[in-house]
């Protein structure tokens, strides 16, 4: 017995609204146009008889013309809706149905445009074509795969119209393709397919992807490769896996991307000249001379440059900008557009301050005030009595760690603070993790054990290194490791600077901690670390193994002390500004102002609000779901506090359009097969019989042929009914 089946769906069902346009000919037909002129007439009996005669004869013709016009307009709307038809194909009884899981790569490299069209459009068209050529009984699930894969068709469906509507809704995401995330969504979809219909006897997973090396290479999975391949192996036993390369030709595409935008200064201040650096990278094999690069500040062009880009190389473009008002400013660097426009611009938010606030906590109240480390630090940071230098320093004793709101300071500098209570340590850790900066100068009375227990590896673990015993240092030059670290970079190129001859007689040892990332900024002649830097949460901590007072040497009296302290404070305080800038896929986070009671409302570049939740372990902290789109985000508080601006930028991994072959992808997955070309993909997915049956031509083409025929008939009818006669 043979079942003949026929089903029609629409690839772009929204275009069916244009069917309403078919009412236009009817409206025109019914519309009684005013007469051009009036004429008295004697032979009315003859005229009336003629009208009757003409009405009888012509009414049918006019109705025929009207019907032809309505049908033509309707067919045009139907053709625009991309009708999908499933040709009748003999199907053996009891052969069951196939459940297809269509995985569309939505990473932003799929936005690449070539002569063959946009990659995503090709993927969607191919998926639609595959669906149109499958059996009417087959089921479909749809997964939009990116960093956070999304199941677009939750319940497997056999309705082509619904599938087509979902395919239309698939858009390019601003993130990279994440194989494990896609696999999770596929596993879920396969499970749903088996649960939905008992008569599903085959399942297929079809990836439509451009096979970017950055996402598909084994290196991108790192340590997760083995478990991923194990999961794929299990999946391969349950379902057939096919990979369709939609990138077309050529295999390697040229692309220019703005991969970074950063400030040279940690904290931009009003009225100060701030250097902005944009980094452009030319992916591909060809050089790009004379590429225009623009700096945009708050939506307006502030500066322009032209640069020559070398293939595979990064080129830094420096701009200078001066802010006249405090507040959050959006800084964008844009390069001349190319075939992948999404990564041709990158934005960051710069919270511009009138003044940078630093809290110096003095731990040696027994010393005369002018000889305390805090006094030396304050003099170094703010030599004048006012904050004309852009830095305002408050000096306080240890009690300030609990009595003051640390969040109002960009940086907290501890000078010979000997011990911490549990609450003080917790407050400091919370401050740092929120993005605050902390610099620690040791000194007389500092207990290494207590530091390590409260703030170090045994406590809050925010110190880059643990403290060791106090040691006497033999005279000798310091080592700045070629001034690579940003803190000492300002000293580079000045020969044998005073920094390296700083007299440090006594210091505390800095001990590296396992699994704790730390950078040694400055070391003694013997290699023992003297200054170490590290991160904690969103903040930065610099640990100095020397004292800021003169008890352990002449550090505060040495010429290098002032610039060194400046650079340390600037480096530490950069974390607060940097937390306003995240990558797509990361969460936005911050703290509520003291007068605020409720969570803020966060709106992304797509004008949709993000889900905001309280931060774990921080009563005033908040964070959002991962940012989905690159661009500016607005954070508004109900108490009327000025809104904050955040920016999310693309992960530049997908900007490298180097691809792997489908065969390599199959090897990576450990199962499945690669389709050599799009036709082969369809044939292999739906079977040769159905592909051949569908090769008769797409339904839209047939509908358009019908439109042409109708228009010809309409023209003839119009000529027949309205031709002038002698």
């Amino acid at each position: 017995m043979v079942f003949l089946m026929w089903a029609i769906g629409f690839g772009n069902a929204s275009m069916l609204w244009w069917l309403l346009a078919a009412a236009a000919p009817i409206a025109l037909h019914l519309w009684r146009r005013p007469a051009r002129h009036r004429e008295p007439w004697a032979a009315m009996s003859l005229l009336s008889a003629a009208i009757e005669r003409q009405t009888r004869q012509a009414r049918l013709w006019r109705l025929a013309v009207l019907a032809a016009r309505v049908a033509a307009v309707s067919l045009i709307a139907i053709a625009a809706a991309e009708p999908l038809h499933r040709p009748a194909v003999a199907r053996a009884p009891g052969s069951g149905r196939t459940h297809y899981v269509l995985v569309i790569d939505c990473s932003y490299s799929m936005d690449f445009r070539s002569e063959e069209g946009r990659r995503l459009d090709r993927a969607v068209a191919l998926a639609r074509r595959l669906a149109s050529q499958a059996s009417p009984a087959d089921l479909f699930s749809l997964v939009a795969a990116s960093a956070a894969s999304e199941t677009m068709v939750t319940e497997p469906t056999s309705a082509l119209g619904e599938l087509a509507a979902r395919l239309d809704a698939v858009g390019v995401r601003h993130s990279a393709f994440d194989l494990p995330a896609a696999l999770t969504a596929v596993e879920r979809a396969l499970e749903a397919g088996r649960a939905a219909r008992a008569d599903v006897d085959a399942q297929q997973v079809v990836f439509f992807t451009d096979l970017q090396r950055g996402s598909w290479a084994a290196e991108s999975l790192g340590e997760g490769l083995a478990p991923f391949q194990q999961r794929m192996s299990e999946l391969g036993r349950r379902a057939a896996v096919r990979i369709v390369d939609v990138a077309g030709t050529p295999p390697t595409a040229e692309n220019t991307a703005v991969t970074a935008v950063q400030f040279a200064e940690a904290t931009p201040l009003v009225g100060r000249r701030v250097r902005v650096r944009g980094v452009l990278k030319q992916f591909g094999r060809r050089a790009r001379p004379g590429v225009g690069v623009e700096l945009w500040v708050d939506g307006r062009v502030a500066d322009r440059r032209r640069v020559d880009l070398e293939p595979g190389g990064e080129t830094a473009v420096d701009f200078a900008v001066r802010f006249d008002a405090p507040g959050d400013h959006l800084i964008e660097v844009r390069s001349a557009p190319d075939n992948l426009p999404l990564d041709d611009q990158r934005a960051i938010v710069a919270p511009v301050r009138t003044v940078m606030r630093v809290l110096c906590v003095e731990g040696r109240p027994d010393l005369p005030p002018r000889r305390q480390g805090g006094a030396y630090l304050a003099s170094a940071l703010a030599p004048g009595a006012d904050d004309a230098g852009g830095i305002a320093v408050d000096i306080a004793d240890e009690s300030a760690l609990t009595t003051r709101d640390l969040d109002q300071y960009d940086c907290v500098v501890l000078s010979a603070v000997g011990r911490f209570s549990q609450a003080e340590a917790a407050g400091l850790a919370r401050y740092v993790r929120r993005g605050g900066g902390m610099a620690i100068f040791v000194g007389e009375g500092v207990s290494a054990e207590r530091y390590n227990r409260r703030l170090g590896s045994a406590g809050e673990n925010i110190l880059p290194m643990d403290l060791g015993p106090t040691v006497q240092q033999p005279p000798g030059p310091l080592d700045a490791f070629d001034f690579r670290h940003p803190i000492v970079k300002a000293f580079s190129g000045r020969g044998r600077t005073a920094l390296l001859t700083t007299p440090i007689e006594t210091s505390m040892a800095l001990l590296p901690v396992a699994n704790r990332a730390a950078e040694v900024v400055l070391a003694h002649a013997g290699g023992e670390p003297l200054v170490a830097a590290g991160g904690a949460g969103r903040g930065r901590v610099v640990l100095v193994g020397a004292a800021a007072d003169v008890a352990w040497g002449g550090l505060p009296l040495w010429p290098s002390f002032v610039p060194l302290v400046h650079e340390i404070v600037l480096y530490c305080s950069a974390g607060r500004a940097q937390r306003r800038n995240v990558l797509v896929g990361q969460s936005l986070a911050g703290e509520m102002p003291t007068e605020e009671e409720s969570l803020p409302r966060v709106v992304g570049p797509d004008a949709k609000p993000l889900e905001v939740r309280p931060a774990a372990g921080d009563a005033r902290g908040w964070s959002t779901e991962p940012a989905r789109w690159a661009g500016e985000y607005s954070v508004r508080f109900s108490s009327g506090v000025a809104p904050l601006r955040y920016a999310a930028a693309l992960d530049p991994r997908e900007s490298d359009l180097t691809r792997i072959s489908a065969d390599e992808a199959v090897r990576l997955l450990g199962c499945g097969e690669a389709a050599a070309g799009i036709e082969a993909a369809v044939v292999s997915a739906v079977g040769p019989d159905r592909a051949a049956a569908a090769a008769a031509g797409p339904a839209a083409a047939m509908v358009l042929v019908g439109v042409l025929l109708l228009l010809s008939v309409e023209a003839w009818l119009t000529w027949r009914t309205g031709r002038p006669r002698a």
């Binding site: 007469a35 007439w41 004697a42 003859l46 005229l47 009336s48 009208i51 003409q54």
Partner: protein
């Protein structure tokens, strides 16, 4: 009120010079004249012989026949009389139509035609009368042959305004009863009435032994329907407005128009009525002279 010269173009007498309106059949007139009368008598034109009966006037015995047959026969002659021409002018509202390219209305043209015919008849020494009609007889001028009778006829033609509908049969029936003696009845009308009723009316006139000439007065727009686009036609005799696509309707209208004229023409021919088509864009003098000349030829040949 218009005068004689409004209707009689000074050039018209020259164009009609030497032409006469001759009766093709016998007519009755009060005076001797150009036309054959219905009565036998002793005049100029020989008609037939009849046998002598006592009391007959010997002056009309045909002695030549007596010499050959020895029987007395009297020669009889046709009485020749003058012509009475009745001009019946349609003054219904439809006659006021003047097409977009016409220089005058149908009524004006018909008035001029009637005046010209009256001039011709009077000039040849015959009598002419005039009647105006629409849905009924509106006014009449008794037949006369006096020198100023043409002015009287023209005043009647002028005095009637085109404000009523047409009822041809009713008017022709009334006219047939009203005309005292046989003559020529010239009907000037657009005949936009039911053709059967028009022909039936004309037939009543023929039954009264009148010689009838139907002059069909039309505007060229009624012929060719030259309108374009969407036009609202407003009927002149009580018809409601009709909005039509003129281009699309032209063929159907012309088919109706041709059928109407053809039926009228065939109806006239079937009852011995002369049918003359007058189009207002054609020179009146040329049309009338061709008609009169053709008619004279036919009468002479007879």
């Amino acid at each position: 009120m218009g005068g004689l010269h409004d209707y009689l173009d000074p050039r018209l007498p020259r164009e009609l010079e030497g032409l006469k309106l001759r009766a093709r059949r016998m007519v009755e007139g009060p005076l001797s004249g150009l036309h054959r009368g219905p009565y036998r008598g002793f005049s100029i034109e020989f008609a037939e012989h009849r046998e002598y009966t006592p009391g007959d006037d010997f002056r009309y015995l045909d002695w030549k026949v007596f010499g050959r047959t020895d029987k007395f026969y009297l020669k009889q002659f046709e009485q020749e009389t003058n012509l009475t021409c009745y001009l019946a002018l349609d003054v219904s509202q439809s006659m006021s139509y003047q097409g977009p390219q016409a220089g005058e209305s149908k009524l004006s043209y018909a008035r001029r035609a009637a005046a010209a015919l009256a001039y011709v008849v009077l000039r040849q020494g015959d009598f002419v009368g005039a009647i105006a009609f629409d849905e009924q007889l509106r006014g009449a001028v008794r037949p006369g042959g006096a020198a100023d009778h043409l002015r009287v006829v023209c005043e009647l033609l002028e005095s009637q305004q085109p404000i009523h509908r047409t009822d041809s049969r009713r008017c022709f029936e009334a006219l047939a009863h009203r005309l005292p003696r046989r003559g020529i009845v010239v009907v000037l009308s657009d005949f936009f009435d039911d053709v059967d009723r028009v022909v039936a009316g004309l037939r009543l006139l023929r039954r009264g032994r009148h010689e009838v000439i139907a002059m069909h007065v039309l505007d060229s727009a009624e012929f060719f329907f030259p309108f374009q686009g969407r036009v609202e036609f407003r009927g002149l005799e009580g018809w409601g407005p009709r909005v039509v696509e003129a281009d699309a309707l032209r063929e159907a209208y012309r088919r109706e128009f041709d059928a109407h004229c053809d039926r009228l023409r065939r109806g006239c021919r079937a009852h011995g009525i002369d049918y003359v088509l007058l189009r207002t864009d054609q020179p009146l003098g040329r049309v009338l002279s061709r008609f009169l000349a053709g008619r004279s030829g036919r009468v002479t040949a007879r």
